[in-house]
Symmetry: C4
């Protein structure tokens, strides 16, 4: 399951670049309309990097899986697979309010899917398992979900309010989940 998930995330992160349409002109000005697309691409690249890193650490703490875990994992991959689509929609329309809000909606759904996956894993491994202790209360995860929920309606008012909040969450996560790392290394 880990190899499959890693593969899917690697493909998602890479095919996003196919949405960077090659301009027909050759001047530097031809790149200017691509700047918002590139900015969206950078943010999504970082988000997928965060998911890959946290997901990778999480699955390393896993002993066994069942059908429920498998589908909780595919559910997460489903929302991540929509990231290239919303990234391109947001970028090509220069951060129009609705696409920015929908981008946040996909981030929100992915964060909820990740939460469901961790709970299903803890339920299977037991509350006293190394995994359960490592994940802990997952304050950062729940805070992210909350910030997305606030960011989506704000994006409809001013696109940069929503976008700024998404960037904030990304910065918050840039350091990989040390709780799991710390517990597992012992």
């Amino acid at each position: 399951m880990e190899a499959f998930s890693d593969g899917v995330i690697a493909i998602i992160i890479t095919i996003m670049v196919l949405e960077l349409r090659v301009p027909h002109e050759t001047g530097l000005t031809a790149l200017r309309p691509l700047i918002p697309v590139l900015l969206s691409y950078v943010l999504s690249f970082i988000y997928l990097g965060i998911y890959w890193s946290n997901h990778h650490h999480l699955l390393h703490a896993v002993d066994h899986v069942d059908g429920r875990i498998l589908w909780a994992n595919l559910h997460l991959l489903f929302w991540l697979s929509l990231v290239p689509f919303v990234t391109a929609w947001m970028g090509e329309n220069h951060f129009a309010t609705v696409p920015v809000a929908i981008y946040g909606l996909v981030l929100l759904a992915a964060s909820i899917a990740y939460y469901i996956l961790t709970r299903a894993l803890i339920a299977l491994h037991g509350r006293t398992s190394k995994l359960s202790i490592a994940v802990g209360k997952d304050f950062k995860g729940q805070l992210s979900t909350g910030i997305y929920a606030v960011g989506i309606p704000l994006a409809l008012l001013r696109w940069w309010l929503g976008f700024g909040l998404y960037v904030l969450v990304a910065i918050m996560w840039l350091v990989p989940d040390r709780r799991i790392e710390r517990t597992l290394v012992d």
Copy 2:
């Protein structure tokens, strides 16, 4: 062979999202024509998830392969590789009857290819092997093949009759094949 198959299925499941064409408008109404495409995508995502999961369980029970198995496996991957095409055709044409029927035809062919693969594996491992006992009579597989065969002509009459039957099979399979899991875990 397992890594190659996992890779191919991971790529198929992910490139499907490239068929979700980015709209040029920015309103929520711009997403409305995408709803059937998204619905088709969800169904195909679940189907490929089911195939990945069952195929993965199946190959875990395998000891050795020969050329025949290898090609039975590539034959299955061939039909699965057509899923993105029929998904897009069905979705972009808002579930017109012929595309829905052709979608079912690809599902039917994939289910037959899966059946051939299991029989070739059992023939190689022997009727008394763990694999053979685990697969058993494969009632669910044969029932699925039958439902597709019924769904295809029905789709030509009313698209939702065929589509409903495909959804029914997907629900039936959402729980991974516990027979194999059970036998192997012992």
Copy 3:
């Protein structure tokens, strides 16, 4: 190197399906112009399957690699990576003579690249190595190269003469390389 090559071949075999353009009509007749594209796709799928299988068997017999092997391998992957392009060109133009000849040219180059790779591997492992004995004189490989060389000019006269010869080679290879399998299994 094996995992990387398997990954590249898995991606090549899968992205070919992106060249099957989704028709805008919904009748069965909309699929008719796709038949040559689908036929080309089937042939290329089988060819890539053959290369994956033989390449996989070959690399299993390998003990160590050096920079020369690495680039001989990338050289083979380069020609294989052109297969989706020539497949689409040949299919979309309904087997026009020049595209059929160019398709053969890519097959010819790939078969020469495979030959170079096997020779580099034998040079590294020694003429008395298990690998060397397993590959043997590689009559089938050299015959294939010869048939492509004949097929390319014939394709310019009548497309089906060239195409027929490519199909002939594919059939000849459908059984994976038992020589290597036999020697290694002992």
Copy 4:
């Protein structure tokens, strides 16, 4: 991390071929406008092959990673993921000066990212580690970075001055990093 990086590089190297647009004509002349695209493709294929090979050797010498390494690695993959875009822009515009310069800019950024990654790895493993001794002063890496920095402004004067320098660096690297190989094999 190694498997993920290998996967991403394998996908980048392969999706580049999707930028080779299939011509609608069937004559050999239809391929003529594709020659610069194909040439760009060959150069980028070799560059990605070099990065894969060196990166692979580098990570084999790695014992453990932390969050910093992980992001230094993703930073490198980010710049490599832009290669298909700049390759297509340069090729489709027949080596216009600005695209050739931007192509060099991405190579420059990737080489700096690779440098940062090696320094982060040495910082983590210690100056007396096998990895540190193997990487050494990395004269070839720093020379490449310098040549790109010279090639970018030269490309704006005459495209072939820049392009020629990029080709020179590629030739310089075609032999994989023997320093690491030598130290590790001992």
